[in-house]
Amino acid sequence: MIRSERGHGAKATERIAFGLLALATFLVVAPVIYIVVFILVNGSGSISWEFLTQAPRHRGLEGGIFPAIVGTFYLMIGTLLFALPVGVFSAIYLTEYARRNWLTRLINLSIVNLAGVPSIVFGLFGLGLFVLAMRSGSSLLAASLTLACQALAMIITTSREALMAVPRSYREGSLALGATKWQTVLHVVLPQAMPGIITGTVLATSRAIGETAPILAVGAAFLLPSLPSSPLDQFMALPYHLYIVATQVPGMPERTMWGTALVLLVVVLSFNTMAMVVRWRFRQRRV
Amino acid sequence: MPRAIYEKHLKSLHEDVLQLGDMVEKAINHSIEALKKRDLAMAKQIVEEDVNINNKRFDIEQRCIQLIATQQPMAKDLRAIIAILHIIVDLERMGDYAEGISRINILMGDEPLLKPLIDIPRMAQKAVEMLDRSLQAFIKEDVEEARRIPKEDDEVDALWNQVYRELIFFMIQDPRTISRATYLMWVAHNLERIADRATNICERVVFTATGKMEEIGASRY
C-alpha cells in the first residue's frame, strides 16, 4: 500500500514538474510571438513600395526609409569585414597556438567580459578612438569598427567553441601525417569548425547592427540628402532612425514607427535565417 | 586469406613432420639392410644419426608450443597441432626401434646370421609402407585411408608370428643357436612395434578430422 501511494505521489510530482517546465517555456515563447505579431499587424499597413524606396521627407513625416535600410546594410558588411577575420584569427590563435598559461587565461576572461560591456560604452569608446583619436570623423567606417568591436567578443567565444569541438583525433591524424600546424588548421580544423564559426559570427553581427547606442555616438545621422558614397561619409541606420521617429519628431504617425520597426525586425531575422541556411548547407556538404 | 600466418606455420610443420617421417623410414630401411649385410659401420652410423631424429622431434615440438602460444588455434586447428605433438613422439620412438635393430646388429659382432633373412625384410617393408601411407593420410586428412591402414597390421602380425615360430624351432633343434635366434626375435619384435606405432598415427588422423578418439584394429601383441 505504502509503495503504491508513494508511486502515486511520484506520478503527481512528475506531472507538476512537467507543468512548470512547460509553463516556463511558454512564458519565454509567448512574448516573442506577441511582439512579432503586434509589429506585423501594426507595421504592415505602412509598408509600401514608396516607403521602402524613398528617402524621408519633412523630417520623416513623409517619404520612406530607404537610406536607413541601405545604411544598415553597409554597416552590416563593414562590421563583418572587420570582425570576421580578426575574430576568427584570434580564436584560432587562442585555441591552436597560444600556450596554456595565466596570460591566456586572463585574455579569455577579458573576452568573456567584453561581451558584457554595455553598448553605450562601446559607442563612447568608438567616439574616443576612431572618431576623435584616429580622425575618421563621424562615419560609416567608425561605426563599423565600433560595432565590430562589440561583436568581436561573441565571435571569438563562439569560434573558439566551434574550434574546440573539432575532435583532437583529427588534429593528431593530420599532424601525424607530417602536416604542419597551419596546414592542419586550414585543411582539417577550420572546415569542421566553419558552420559554428559562421553561425556565431552572423548572430553576433545581426545583434550588433540592431544596436542604437553605439552608432548614436559615432556617426549615424537622422536625415541625409544622399546615400553614403564612401566609408568616411555619415549614414542613416534603421535602429537609430526608429529611435528618432519614435521619440524626437512630434506628430509622427504611429504606423511609420511600426513600419520602421517591422523592416528592422525583418532585416535582422532574415540575416539570422541566412546563418541557419549557410550552416545547414555546410552540414550537407560536410559528408 | 584469413589467418594466413597460421596456415603458413601449419604447412611448414606438416612439411617437417614428413621430413621426420622420411628420416625414420630411412633409418628403418638402413638398419635392416645393415643387418642383412652384417655391415657394422653402417649400423654404427644409424645409431649415431638417431640424435638427428630426436632433435628434429624436439624442434617440431617447440614450434608447436610456440604456435599454440602465439596463434591460439581452436577446434580443428588445435587438434591438428595436438596430433602433430603425438605423431612426432611415435616417429621418434620408431627411430629408436631402428636404432635398437642396429645395436642388436652390433651386439652380434662377427657371428654370421642364423639364416638368410626373408620374413624380417618383408616385415620391415610392410611396416615402412604403413608408416609412409599413414603420414600421407595425415597430410591429406584422408580419414578413409587412415581407417584402412591399421587393418593391414594383421599382415605384419602374421609375419611376426611366423618368424617367432621359426626361431623357436631353431632353438629347440639346437640350443647353441639360442643367442643368435633371440637377437633376430628382438629385431622382428621391434618391426612389429613400428607397425603398431603407424596405426597410432592413423588414430590421430581420424581424431584430427572428426574430433573423436577411436581405437582402430588393436594389435594382438
Binding site: - | 640424435v51 614450434r63 602460444a69
Partner: protein, 273 residues
C-alpha cells in the same frame, strides 16, 4: 634402448632480422613531475613487427609516441635520453618534426578518417607535401588503397564520404592514408581495439603483409594479438614506483612460451594486470 639426452638448440621459425630501425637508450619521459617511462633502452628491428604489451597505464602509448614526437603536443612533456631513427637523432634540436612524421607514420586507436571523401583522405598527406598533380595523386591513392587491402571494397565509392565506411574499412583507410606518405615506420596504437574480431583479423593479416616492407611497432593490450602478429615483444611494467619500466624484450616466440622475468610470466598467464 631408448637413448637420448642433451639440450636442444631452439631453431627460430622467424629468422632474426639484422637491421635495427629504431633505437632508444636510457629514455626517460616525464609529464611535469610524473615519470611515464623509465630508462628504456631498446632496439627495434627493421621490416618486422614489434609489439609493446603491458597493463593499462604502463606507458605503452607514451612509448610509441616517442618515435614520431607526438608527445610534443602534450603540455610539459619532457624527454631525456636518446631516440634514433636509423642514425638520425629524433630529439635533436635540428630535427624537422614534419620530415620525421613523414618517415614515421601513425595509426590511432579509434579510426579517425577526416570527414572528406575516401580519395581526399588518402591524398591528404601527399597534398600537404606539395603534390598536386591530379594524375599522380590518383596513382598514389590507388596504390595506397591497394596496399592497405581496401581497394576492392571501396573502388566504387572513392569519392564518397570516408565516414560511410565500416569501422574496419575506416581503419584500413587510415592505414592507406599513412602509406600514401610513403613512410618507413608505421606506429600503431591499439589499432583494433574499436573493431570486431573479423575486422581485427583482417588488419592483422594486413600488418603481416606490410611488415615485409615497413617497420611496424604496435601497442596493444590484447596479448593474444601481440602473440599472433608480432616478431618481437616488449613488456612494460606498471607499479607504483616502476611505471614505464621495460621488463622484458625478445622474440615473441620466446617471450610467450618461456619468459625470463617472472613478472612477464604472471602478466601473460593472466595472473596480474
Amino acid at each position: 634402448m631408448v637413448i637420448f639426452s642433451g639440450e636442444i638448440e631452439r631453431i627460430p621459425a622467424v629468422p632474426a632480422p639484422e637491421k635495427i630501425k629504431l633505437r632508444t637508450s636510457g629514455v626517460n619521459l616525464f609529464y611535469g613531475t610524473f615519470q611515464a617511462l623509465r630508462n628504456i633502452s631498446i632496439e627495434i628491428p627493421a621490416q618486422a613487427i614489434t609489439a609493446i604489451i603491458g597493463p593499462s597505464g604502463c606507458g605503452k602509448t607514451s612509448f610509441l609516441r616517442l618515435f614520431n614526437r607526438m608527445n610534443d603536443l602534450i603540455h610539459n612533456a619532457r624527454v631525456e635520453g636518446s631516440v634514433e631513427l636509423d642514425d638520425m637523432p629524433i630529439y635533436d634540436q635540428n630535427t624537422d618534426v614534419v620530415e620525421l612524421r613523414k618517415r614515421v607514420g601513425m595509426v590511432f586507436q579509434k579510426p579517425n578518417p577526416f570527414p572528406m571523401s575516401v580519395f581526399d583522405n588518402v591524398a591528404f598527406g601527399p597534398r600537404r607535401h606539395g603534390k598536386d598533380n591530379r594524375k599522380e595523386l590518383e596513382e598514389i591513392v590507388e596504390r595506397s588503397l591497394h596496399r592497405a587491402a581496401l581497394l576492392d571494397e571501396v573502388k566504387d565509392k572513392i569519392h564518397e564520404s570516408a565516414l560511410s565506411l565500416s569501422g574496419g574499412q575506416q581503419q584500413r583507410l587510415c592505414i592507406a592514408r599513412v602509406l600514401a606518405v610513403d613512410p618507413e615506420v608505421i606506429l600503431m596504437d591499439e589499432p583494433c581495439s574499436a573493431l570486431d574480431p573479423v575486422a581485427t583479423l583482417k588488419i592483422e593479416d594486413l600488418m603481416r603483409a606490410l611488415s615485409e616492407n615497413y617497420t611496424i611497432v604496435i601497442v596493444t593490450h590484447n596479448m593474444q594479438q601481440a602473440a599472433r602478429v608480432s616478431d618481437m615483444a616488449a613488456f612494460l611494467m606498471m607499479a607504483d614506483d616502476k611505471t614505464g619500466e621495460l621488463v622484458e624484450y625478445g622474440p615473441t616466440n620466446r617471450v610467450f612460451t618461456n619468459p625470463k622475468d617472472p613478472r612477464t610470466e604472471s602478466y601473460i598467464t593472466g595472473r596480474f594486470g
